[in-house]
Symmetry: C2
Subunit: 190 residues, 2 copies
Amino acid sequence: MSKITTRDKLLDITFKEVYIYGYAGSSISNILKIAGIPKGSMYHHFPSKKAMVIAMIKERLTPKVREAFYIQIDDDSRAVDILSFLFKKISKNEMLIKHGCPLHKLMFEMGSLDDEITKLCHQEFIFLIENLAKLIDIGKQKGDIREEDSKSLAKFIIISSWGALSLAPNHSSKEQFLQDTKHILEYIKA
Amino acid sequence: MSKITTRDKLLDITFKEVYIYGYAGSSISNILKIAGIPKGSMYHHFPSKKAMVIAMIKERLTPKVREAFYIQIDDDSRAVDILSFLFKKISKNEMLIKHGCPLHKLMFEMGSLDDEITKLCHQEFIFLIENLAKLIDIGKQKGDIREEDSKSLAKFIIISSWGALSLAPNHSSKEQFLQDTKHILEYIKA
DNA sequence: TTATAATTAGACCGACCAGTCTACTATAAA
DNA sequence: TTTATAGTAGACTGGTCGGTCTAATTATAA
């Protein structure tokens, strides 16, 4: 029953367009053309392109990335298994494999160009790290891991995963990603 | 004596502009304004924006990146020392710390947008991997490393370094980079 | 000097950019 | 039925985009 609102449609398409073409490379006109929505409607809901992108980050990008980098675990999971499971989940996410992590991509592009967007992205980055650190802490109780600082380790894991996902799409694949992140697992095991 | 030619000036400024603003975010008009060069001169040397950027990649970006990711080593260097030295060198490169690896950034942006540029970037990526693998092979002879596949390891090291360098500039620093890559060194030592 | 090519110079073009404006319509409360 | 509000609609604006064009200038060689 619930119909898709103009706002929802705009945010959905803005996510895709900014994800693929970047902030600078995406255009309002094209987003509107795809959505079949006139300009006035968009500028009724958002005061500017930047405002729409910020709403998109909060309401689309952030939830997607949280979901992609999160896994449910049993209480008796070992840290190695948790990470192995996480990598397998990420590798199955075609979006991530093909275009990299949307948070990473936007953060990289906007780094020195816009403080507000950069700050927003960085907050989410911190959230991902802390979330993963919690998972590692749970796994650590099973004693199969020697690393003390879970946050530092979590950061390294996300950074490395992002790196592995950010290669040119022609040359990245599920198998390649798993191969590239294998080193992280071996490091944890050590 | 040798004066800077119009072409050289254009390539220098194009590198900076594309590095900071991205391919889509940079503009010919702005590059010309900064260079103090009229349009006709530029379009005499290059048929298009894309052609100028491709020349810039070959003649500016590639040499800079090769230099940044290369180190001279002694014949009796251990692999761990080689990498430790490399990370220290990278951490001293303010350009890399502030804006990430220009090759990585361009490759990430253009990934699914332009085959020619993507291919060019990827070739250089392969070159970096093979170069680093050679260094690792030399260090491996000293027997302080257990990894068999030097290329896979080299790829992982570059990917992870790129990831660590691609965080928002406000939150990246020499110290942070060394902290983030510390895990790689510990992995090698293991 | 003269002919030829290389380069510099910038006005100009149509397309597209983000954003504004006014008019219209749908909804719902009074 | 009236009035207010939320949302839809798209023509329009000033500015910038990449790229073209012709003319002027400079360098090279005969």
